[in-house]
Structures are given as C-alpha cells and as structure tokens.
Symmetry: D3
C-alpha cells in the first residue's frame, strides 16, 4: 500500500506548488488512503454574511504552513496515516436541496471505502448531507459539535434548510444518536429564550460558553467523553466557536468566545473517541486577515488528522 | 403634495444619521413620491463570489457623499422630483424562486403607484422579478443593459435561475420588447464562442466592449437611442461593466472595462428615453476598497434619479 | 403605549433594510420609548487617529446581527422595554465648543422625557456634553468608566477640550459625584508618573488593568457596586478598554487589555445599579476588520439595553 | 554651500531608514536649501472623512520609491537643487484657528529664506495659512488649483473654516491675484447649481472636468499659462482631482476623474511658471491600498521638486 | 494523444477544487501537452517590496474565473491546444544563484519536449534562468518586454543579481538576439538620466510610456513586429507595466502606466510572432485588492495561452 | 552630557513629524546615548512569507503612540536614560552572507561605545550577526528567546542561513553561553518529533507553550532568572511568540499563542537581568491590521528601553 504524505518542506519551500491540504497528493485513490481531506464549497445556507464557498481554498492555502509532527498530541502523523486531498464534492450554488444530494453522493464513496473524511466547509448547512452519508454507512451517530449556535432552529423565512437548521433536520431524519450527542459553546444573543432549551428537548446535551467557563476546559472534556462513550461519532467544528479576534473570517460571529489555544485543547481532547468523520466549517476568507482564521481552521483539521493517526498508532478503530 | 428630499448638508454633516440613500426620508409614502430607491439584498444567484446582499447597505452608505445638483446633467434634482428611500424588498436567502416572488410582489405597489423604482442590488438574478413586476404594469419593455456579460445563458449545473440567466428567462416569458433591447459592454473570456451570438439570436442588439471602443461613446449612445426609440424602457446597470480598477467590489470582474468617467457618460446619455425602472447591481462591499465601487454605483443611481428629474423638468413622461 | 422593537428576523433577513440599531424603528417618539439609541458622530476631540465620526454607522451596521434575547443577562429585552433609534445628535466637525452645545441640546429632550439614552460615539470628548445634559436633569452623577485612559488630563497643546480631558472638565463643572465614581482599566505608557494619581486626587477611584488582573473580575465588580451604591449613575465604555486584538478599530489603542468575554462580564455586572445614561465610544471603522470592533461595541450596547430591560423586569428605576 | 540630496539607493536599499521625503536629510538648515518639504498633518477642516493628519507620513513613506532623475521633465533634480525634509509645522488637532496661526508661523521662516516650500497635507483647509504665509512675503499670488471642488463655499454649519472654504477666505483677505488664478477639474454633484458660478464671480477662471475633457490636456495647460502669465504663483494640488481608482485614499472622492498619467501631465505642464510655493493635499492613508494614493502624491511632489530644479537649470527665478 | 483542458464550469462551479491554472489538470505529462503553466515562486531578487513568492498562488486562484474562449483573439483555446498546470519549479528562498540553477533545470524538460512554458512569477530576476533554459534549446532569442523598468542595471549594493539586472546579464551571456529585442513601457523616476540610454547602447530598442502615448498603441505594436520579425521570441510581461490603479499588487509600482484594456491590446497584438516562451511576473498578492492584479495577470497569461492556440489553429510554429 | 529624549507630546501632536522611534532624535551620537534603537530591515532569511524588511518602519510608526512613563515597570524612562534612533544598519536584500557582515559591522560601534542596542527586525536570521557583534564585545552570552520556534534547525534546501537556523549557528560559533540560555514558547506543528530535543541537546533549556501554560507565568519567569543568573544576556523577542490574533503581521504564525498582556508580563519580568542587547523581530506590516502587531512590538521595545532605565535607576550595570 502506498502511503500518501505531504511534499518534503526541506526539499521545496512550503510556499510552493498548487494548494492542496498540507501539500498532500491530490487524487481519489481511496484504496491507499486512511483519511481524505474534502472541500465542500457551499454557502447557499448562510443567513447573514456569504462567502464560505471560498473556505476550502482558504484553508488549503493556510495549511501549507503545517508540518508533519503534531506536538500537542505527540504524534508524527504520516508514520501512521496515509492521507489524500480528495478535492471538492460537487455543489450547485443557489440550490440547497440539489447540493445536499450532490454532497451526500460525493461523500458516499469515502465512507464506503472506510476512509475517514475531514470536510472543509462551506457553511454549516452541509452538516446535514454529511450526516446522511455518514449514517448510511455507520447508522445513527453521536455528535460532538463545537459552535456558538446550536443550529437547531426549525426554519427561516418559511424554509427548512439553512445553516441554522441542520441538526434539527438530522434528528428528525434519525441520523443522530442524540442521547450521545453534545453541543458545546453556545453564547450571545438569541432569538428567543427557549432557543437552547429546544435543543435540549430534542435530546442534546448543551453546554454554553458560560457553562464551560464555569466548568473549566478539563471538566468539559470529561463531560464530552462521558456523554459520547464508545459510540461512533461525528465531530463538527464551527469556527465561530472561537472568538472573532481569533477567527474574524466567519459568517455570524459571536463575541465573547474561546481563544485559539482553548479551541485546540478541545480538539485534542477528543483523543480516544471513535470518530468516523469530521468537519471544520464557516470560514469566510473575504472577511479574514492575514489568513488567521483559515490558519486556525487548518490547525484544527490538522488536529483531527492527528487524532486518526493517534488512534491508528494506539491500534484504534477509526477508519480502515 | 409633500416633496421628499435629502437632509440639509449645511445643517448637519453628511456623515450623520441613519444611512438612507442620499439622506432621503425612509418611508413608503408612494402617494407623494416620484421615485423610490429600493434595496434588493439578494445574492443567491451568484455563480462565483458571493456578498451582493450587502450591496444596498454599501451604496446607501456611500451615497451620503452625494449632493442635490447633478452637474453632468445640469439639473437640481429635488426642484423636480420627490424621492424616498423605500427600504428593501423581502428576500429569502438560499431560495431563488421564493425570492423572485417576494421581490416581484415587493416592487408591484411601486409600479402600481406610477413611481419609478431605482433598485439597488443584489446580484443580477434580481432582474427577472424586476422585469416581471415592470412588465405587469407596462407590458413588454425595451432593455438597456450595461454589463460585461449578456446574462443570457440557459442554465448552470442544470438549474435555470442564476445571475447568468435572467435575460434569457425574461425573453422566454415575454417580458422584453427584444427588438428594442440592447446590451452594451460584453468582453472577456466566454464559455463558448457562440455565447454572444446566442443573445443576438434571441433578438438583442449586442455591442461588445471592443465594438464600443471602435465606435466611440457618442456613436454608441446614438445606437442606443435609435434602438430603443420611444419604447418604455428598463435600464439595468451591472457594475462589472466598469473596469475592476474602478469597481473592484463585484462578483465576476472582467478586466479591460470602462472607466468611471466613461460609465457616467453612458448613464447620462440616456436622457430623453422613456424609462420606467432602473437598477444598479452586483456591488459586493466585502471586496471593495474605501467604498469606491459603492460610490460609483451611488453616482450611477444619482444619474438615474437625475434622468427622472430632467424628464419631469422637460415635461417628460417618466413616472407620475 | 406602542412598544417599539426590532423587525422580525424570521420574516426578513437580518442583513436587510436601512441600518438602524438592531433594526429598531427610526423615530423620535420619546413618549412611547424607554430607551433611545443615539449617535454622536463627532471626532474633533481625537488626539491621535481620527475617524470616530463613522462610529455610529459602524455600530448600527454590526448591530443587525443582534437578537432579542440576551442570554448572558437572561432577559428577553423587548418584553420589558420599548426602544427607538433616535438618529444622531447634530455636531459641527472641526468645532468642539459648538458641537458640545449641539450635543447637549440634542440629548436634553431625551433626558427630559425620562428616556434612557445609549449614545454611540464618537470620540470620548462627547462625554462632557453628555454629562452636562444628564446632570441638568439628574444632578451630579456617579461615573462608571471603562477605559484604558482616565481622560483627566488638563489640556493638550494649550487647549482644554479633547478626548483626553472630558472627565477633568466634568469634575470642574460639578457634573460628577466624584466620590461615587470609578475608573477601571488604565494601563500602558503614560505621559507622567503622576497622571493616574491626578485622577485619584480629583476624587476618582481608579483601578488599573494590573489592579483588575490582581483582584479578579468578580472582586472588581464588587468594588464598582460598593463605590457607586444607590447613586444615579452614568456608564461610559471606551472601546479601548478592550485589547486591540478584540477591538482594533479604535483611536489610541493600548495593548495588554481585556478580552471580549471579560468586557462583557464587566458590562453585565452593572445589573442593579441605578443607571440613567450610557455611552460606547471610540469606535473607528476605518481601522476595523470584518466589523469585529463594531460588533463588540454593538454587543456592549445590547448589554446596556438589556440592563434597562432587566431593571424594568425587576421593577427597577432606570428610565421611565 | 552644502547640497542636500537623497541617500544613495545603490549603497543602502530604498526601504531602509527613517522615512523622510525621498530619503532627504531631515534638518532645518534653510541657508543651504532651495526647497523644503514640509508636512502639515492637519485634518480638523475635513467635512466628510477624517485622517489626512497621516498624509505626510504616508507620502514620505511612499516617496522612498522615488529616484533622482525625473524622466518626464528631463531633469536630474539634485544637479540643480538642494532640498531638505523640514519636518512638520505644528498644528493643534481640533482647533482650526490656532492651527492656522501655527501653520502660518511655521512656514514663515521658509518664505523669508527664499526657500520654496512643498507642503504635504493635511486637508485642504491648510491652503489658507499657506497663502497667508506666502502672500506676506510675495504679495497676492496667482493660484493654480487642481481639484474636483472649488473650495469656495462660504461656510458649513455656520462656521467659516473648513476644507471647503479656504479659497473664498483667501480672496476676502486679498491673498490672491484672482484675475490670474485658475481652478481646474471641478466635477460631480454639487450643493447648488450656482456653486461654481460663485467661484467665477469671485474672479477665478474655473475649468470643470467636462471642460477639460472637451478642450484636451494640451489646450487646458495653455489656458493655465495664459491665465497666470508672469505672476508669482501658488500651486495647490488636491489629490481628489484624480479619480478614486487611482487615488482611493482621500476624503471626499468624486468619481469620473483624471488618471495618474493625465495628472502628471498637468503637474509637468507648469514648467515655466514662476512658482513660489506648492502643496499636495487630502491624502488619507487609512483609506489607501498598497500606498497607491500616497505614491501618486509623492510623484506629484517629485514633479514639483523637479519644476524648481528645471527653473534653476534654465536660470529661472523660483526660489533663491 | 490526450487533450488536457479545464474542468467543465457548467458541471461544477468555478470556485470549486484545488487551485490549478484555469482548473487545468495538474501533472507533468509533457508528452501530451502543448503548453505548460509553471510557477516560479521566487522573490529573493526584489529590491523594494517582497512577496512575489505568492504570485503563482494568486494568479492560479484568480484564473478560476477564466473561460475557454478568448473573445479578444477569437479563439476557443482548447480546440487547438492541450495544456497542463505543471506545478512550480524548485527555488531556494534567500539564495539567488542556487535558485537560478534550480529554475533553469526545472524548465529544461519543458523546452526539451517542445512544450511552450508560460511562467508565473515570481520577481523579474527569474527572467535570467528562464532565458538560459530557453536559449539552451533555441539559441539566442528576441525579447519582447513589457515593463516600466528596463531591468538592465549593472548591480545593486555591489551584487550582480536582482530583479533590476536580469536583462543586462542575459545580454552578457549571449542569451538574447538583442538586435531583435524591444522593451516597451519605461517611465517614472530613474536613478540616472543615462539609465535608459544604457539599455539602448546594449542594443535594445526601448520605447518609453511617453513614446507609446505619442505613437499610439497600433503603431507601437507595428514597431514590435518590425523589430522582432521572424525571430524566435521570448515574451516577458512585468505587471508593473500597468498602472498601479489596475495592478496595485506589485513590488516597484510606477504611477502613470497603462490601463488593463491597453495592456490586453499589447498582449494580443503579438499574434503572428514565433514565441517559444512567456512569463508574467511581479505579482505580490499581499498588496492586492480583491485579486484585481492577479486577475489581470491571469488574463494576460490567458492571452498568451490563446496566442499559442491561435498559432496552432493557423498552422503556426509555436510549440510542438 | 546631552540627554536625548522624545519630542514633547503636549507641544506637538504625537502624529506629527518624521517617524523615529518614540519621536526620539535621529542621530548617531553614541557618546551621549545609553540606548540606541536600530533598524535591521532584512528579510532574505524568511522561509514562508516575506516582508519583514518593512518591520522597522512599521514599529517606528506605531511607536509614536508611546509615552515617557512605563506604568507596568514603574519608571519614567528619560529620567534615567538618554536614547537615540540610530537609523538602520545596512543590508543587501537577497544576499544573506553579505548582509550578515554589514549588520555585524553596523552594530559594532554601538557595542564598542557601551550603548545598549534595541534592534527592530527584520526576520529572525539577523540574530546571528547581532550575536556576533555582541559576543565580540562581551564574550559568549546567555540567551533569553521568546519564540514559537527554536530556530535551531540545521539547514533548509541545503542552505545554512535562514530565519530557522541562527541559534544553531550561534552555538556552533561559540557566541552563546548555552548553559545559561533559555527558549520559551515553542508550539505548533513541527517537522520532526526530535526538533525540540535537538535544541535541548545543544544545551538550551526549552519551555514549550504547553509547559508555560502548566507552570504559569510567574514560575516560568523564575525559571528564566534561575537559568540566566548573573550572566551577560541577549534578549530576542520573536513576535510570533504571541498569538496571531494579537500579532497577525508576522511571517510564520502559530496559533495557540500568548496574549499581549501575557507577552508584556514576560518582557517586564526580565528586570534584574544583566542585559546587553535586545531585539524584536518578525514584524511584517503588509499582513498587519491597524498596526496592532507593530504597536505590540513597539510596546515590547518600550519595555526593553524601560528595563535599561530601571537598571540605571537602581544603579544597575546595563549599558554605560
């Protein structure tokens, strides 16, 4: 089996070459890959700013700064993992239902090949077709969602599909093992005082930013592990979980959020879970500065990639 | 009858107050208005960049620099016209067909009151509901379109509605008097060598940027007047008609375009036509610098407002 | 009595319409309002950068992201409060004394109607006419000032009025109950080692950023409450209290400041005080990125609005 | 006599060292200088945007790109001229009358030493103290003004001094030989149809942008020479003469302006006039991009410096 | 033979997928290609700003807007040409001589395969290794250089290799048929009045921007054809040929340059020449806005690609 | 002896005048100075982004906000110190070895005069010639390095000198008392799991960001003091020690870093050490926003200047 890994940064500079994630080979050879980085350049679901369609490009570009060894997790990624940049799934800008079909269809071969996808969004509406594809292979999944919004509203302007509604739809469609699912980071102004209770009533555990500040990061991560347990899990990281100072390039920013360091602690704390798919969403490069948002998103994706490497190093069960 | 006009810039500074177009009153009193400035904050039809939903905000903001007298057309606008900022028509981000209904519905009372709308886009897909509303009141209209693209493609990704297709749809729906319609400014790379011929075969007169450079501005404007004649006319100004140096804040920029001065000559040359509606579209503030795109768009809208004033001054027939 | 509240964000998108604060109605109906949002687009008092005249526009624009329920304070604002966007008070750019008269005069009807103003600055020099207007109605006020500078210098370049001097002037004019006043957040380089002692000698309690770091946020907020007690209070929030990473768009930034989350804790901690007026000042949009400064300022103003709602919910005494 | 000239760009790179104009020595040795570059970092007179106080810094920074030989005028500057960066004249931000005194006072020694000043603004209000200083030494002067606005309004908000009024004040004070003065480039919307006639009635010749487009550049420059003749002349170049695409970093931009190449033709066409002082004003770096506005302003100042060199090369009479 | 062409823009949106030039396949199959797009991410030769190392990324990103048919040259590119994105040649940041070897070596296989390279710079110093590689295959070449600087200085700071010296070195090394070579567009301030004469004395024909303005574009392009004749030709397009308003993202901008439309006329006028290699250099994305510089550079490269297609369509001799 | 100090900010505004550090006199009078601020505008050593050559300009510009008294360290600087802006040392862009000679040579007179240099970079490769100059005067030095990378790699692309290698070279050349040297702040992805161990094996104490988070700031600073003891010390502060939210304008940003407040605590904690030279490096203004990175760097330099003042106040031994 070929092991796919990034180009050597001591042979040619990291600022060189066509922008794939981490300078990985761009191909669709699922046979020889454990992880596939996949772009989902879709933003028709956005209710405030637009522009997440350029998120995959932005994250890929910033990812050229990343190196092979993850010091936070203590793993040299490509000793344990073969990874490819799979390119983007097809989308139809302006048509959310058709795009949902294309995205689900685009991800299906990855799941079928038991390759772990790390999806680069795109607005958060893509979580629904992601979960459809994942659940088709794995059945209902535990969800670990880092986000400042629960995205469990029922509808906007009379329409069911936006980046504010995917997780309600996912529950309705039975894609989630909601009793094992947890949402972390809710904060800011909300439409109605019951917005968060709604999510809880659907079955989610929901920890607000204020909850986390009270509990502390460590206790919070223990809660995540307790909640999820051994279940097969989908991890969805909305970059607006992070404070706009650290992640200005997003669509519905909420001040009062987490720092980049704290965000990395959360991502890394997931080691040990049985994760079958990941995404990092809501990066809007037109609102970014010096790529700091895209770079943070790339680092989060790098942590996710490292989680798979770590699981494989430890004889874990993620991916094939 | 009340005459609505901007706040006095010698009493309070132009940088003051809530951003309405030119500091006009914000109301829906169509009884007492000749012109209504209307925002259509819609960008679900965009096929490359996104963000025209903030176009109306951007143009309104920049318009605070504008003053009452149009020196290029020689008319003191509010001696002849009562104008209001009507606010925005409703849209549903992510849903183009529903938005088309809302936009058409939103514009209908304006046409019914014989008020001339100047619509601030939004991406160019809004031209279809605009023309539906206009044609419902006035019958098929002549079109004068300034644009670097004809927007007469048939479909993208199998879907009929984008900002690249509204004028083909308008022809199909019988909204245009295509024999009196003219498209000016096409340039740049195209998908197929027949793209522009298609527009001609639908009946449009089409003048490319190269044609205009050969003819000169004056001859071109004569061609417009000859083509349109006495017909009731809709004027649609896509800011990408202008070169990206002068209008960087747009969605599908084409280099090699017209300067701001040339663009103003075209707008002003329309004096004498019987125009029943206007739009300025495809302003994307997130890609703008120091508001130069928005300011140019605001100036074009100011010229359009002045055309109505001039028609009224001369006893013309635009609006009530 | 009419209750004024924001437009419904599920009916039309938040990015729609003329930019008023939180999409509130723009009128001057003080009869039916408890709170008036007022812009003071003045920056002639600035001693380093300029541009706070666009602060009210910037904050209004960003405020369209805000929703009705304040999760941090646990109050659904418009169940308890009727609020309007009052527009801007008149100013004369380049003339600080005349502007002081216009601003005071502009705010007087609001105070006379027992409506609580939340003023959007503008540079901090506007605090003087604000306090003149407030004190005329309420007598000398306690001041709670969040700021990295005490703004109690005597003069600059031989002139008495700048954004570095308003609170010394206010003390000289007897507008403050200085024994009940507290300044929080001073830090950075200063002109003279006695700069802060001067403020203390005038009677202010002054807590530097280093003091606050030592005390902790909770103890600090207790100190504020102890200091102010039952006094009628004016709250002035200079956005440079916050670190430039979270609030780059300001005029005299001081590194080493507070985070957005910490800033919100301070704003929310004021619940229970008897506050008769608020401001948020020193927002310079030309130096901002992706509106993060303006959005933070809008959130602070949202917290202030919520404090009034909370007081009214609890049967409090703020406003009428 | 020492000849002051820029640092050698083949010895140390142009991006080196403290930013003086063109890397000239920074001193006040008027004995040994023919030209003094002087900053006037004042923007209290601005009626729309603010920020011209950083204009001198911006122009100095961009000027490091400039080299010794002016190819357009065919003169190796420092073969004929000794030039210094004099630093800035004192100003009092927020106080226009005091600043006028400081600026006039600051420029006086330069005029007294028969050194030609090239003033880097600052907003256009500084033209009044400049002309006061110049006229004190030379008597009433011809004015050549490149600008999109005549700046001959009477007052704003009841106040006499802003960047819209200096030339009316100058006429009232007898500082101008108005019969030999000419204003070039007016365009855009104006407050009242009589705005430009007012300037003409004061005695100015006024050529609008439309006039210049009809006449052509060459005929226009002949008109300037005919108008001015042998009179001692002050040249004032407002960067908003240029189109915002070429000069976005300005305070009251007017679209439809001149290109950078055209602007240089105008500046260079002044060769042969008897010029005793120059300014380049209204550069606002916070609105600039990649320094293109500042670089254009620096090039215009470089042309002005070259005009003095050329006059001295030809045995001309400018400066000592 | 496989014909390589861009992904279909009606199947997946142009904003999709890994950024290759025009969405071409990224491979090194020189057998089946007529044209290879090659990045040279090198900027160690820059003497003022730095950052051209990101030029290839920037141009590739903007090129996603480009379509298959070139309307200006009347050719549907991929009916006649098979093109690949070859990726980048290796460079060593900070070491110009080693990089020269790597770049020459990197380009050699392309020339050996009789594939026409279109090189995306990088600063202009890369012209030397490009010409070394080209001359090794084709012998001394005619040069058509569009640029605001001749780049024929001898040395900077005592060193022979910078972006200001490559064409002098190329003459010294016998890489150019200097009698058939022409430099177009010189303007701005220069170090010494003999700078341009030096280039002429080396044998170049040199047309300044002022020369071109006098001759007109058409006569200028005739001069180019007369000069070059039938010789094998290298075309080098420095984006600073264009005015900074149209191309702000460059390293040593010179105001007073050509518009984007004029620049395209020059590029397209080369049809009929026997061109064996092209470059577009000096794009600095960190100084760009909304990609307008990168987009113009991409369009110039698109014209170059079209010239090859046209030559092949006409049975021409460019490439294999 | 003359005491050099900044211009008086109450006499002329801080935004005035040629940009020297803190408005200090620009001269080379080492006789009368204790501290010399020196620019090293060099970025040829950079391996990812470029542009640190404009770092000194950026830091000088932002430093105009700084005032005479350091409240964090409790010292009125210019009561104890005479400081000058020495200008820049010569560099040769594109040639690292020659530049190393020029920089060392440029710094030598400062060390010989027993003046303490505070060097404004420039990329981190300048640390090598700095240490060569310092060690020539003082012998091997203790190093306190704040940085997210140890910069002890052996080579890149086969070359020995980049901004990733200076400290390995310094050890090899015997410039460091490595047993008294400490590196603080390493984090992020690394090329190889042994990268940091390598630094330790060379003899450095190395504290990662994670180590510091565990230890706390106070314990960390004790470790620094214990490590360094009485040794003569060089302090090198790479701005990428700080999180990109606080310092976006840098070349190889690593997310998860320290805040501005924490960074200041580290800088100030060095009081009491025997420091003979300082630098602040890796500021890239083209990637900065509203000067927040440059301002933070200026504040760090201000703290360093204050450390010297404090040492002199306490009868300390730094400098003459």
């Amino acid at each position: 089996m070929t092991r796919y890994e990034p180009a050597d940064s001591f042979a040619t500079p990291r600022f060189s070459d066509v922008r794939t994630f981490m300078r990985l080979p761009h191909n669709r050879d699922l046979e020889n890959a454990n992880v596939a980085i996949v772009g989902a350049p879709f933003d028709t679901g956005a209710t405030f700013r637009a522009g997440a369609r350029f998120g995959p490009e932005g994250i890929r570009s910033a990812s050229h700064l990343l190196r092979r060894h993850n010091s936070g997790l203590g793993v040299t990624i490509f000793d344990h993992v073969s990874a490819i940049d799979y390119g983007d799934v097809p989308v139809v800008p302006g048509y959310i239902e058709s795009s949902y079909e294309w995205i689900e269809e685009g991800l299906r071969p990855i799941y079928e090949a038991d390759v772990v996808p790390i999806v680069l969004g795109g607005d958060h509406s893509i979580a629904l077709p992601e979960l459809r594809a994942a659940a088709k292979r794995h059945g209902p999944l535990a969800l670990v969602q880092f986000d400042s919004h629960p995205d469990t509203w029922d509808s906007y302007f009379g329409e069911k599909h936006t980046h504010g509604t995917p997780f309600r739809r996912a529950v309705e469609e039975g894609l989630l093992d909601v009793e094992r699912s947890i949402q972390v980071g809710m904060r800011g102004s909300i439409y109605d005082e019951r917005d968060w209770d709604d999510a809880k009533e659907m079955g989610f555990e929901l920890l607000t930013t204020d909850d986390v500040r009270k509990l502390g990061i460590e206790a919070t991560t223990r809660r995540i592990h307790e909640r999820v347990g051994e279940a097969k899990t989908y991890v969805s990281f909305d970059i607006d979980f992070v404070d706009p100072a650290f992640a200005p390039g997003t669509g519905t920013p909420e001040v009062g959020g987490f720092s980049s360091w704290e965000s990395q602690q959360f991502a890394r704390s997931l080691a040990g879970l049985h994760i079958v798919g990941f995404d990092v969403v809501e990066v809007y490069p037109a609102y970014d500065l010096a790529q700091i948002t895209a770079l943070l998103a790339a680092n989060i994706a790098h942590d996710f990639l490292s989680l798979v490497a770590l699981a494989r190093k430890r004889g874990g069960i993620s991916g094939k």
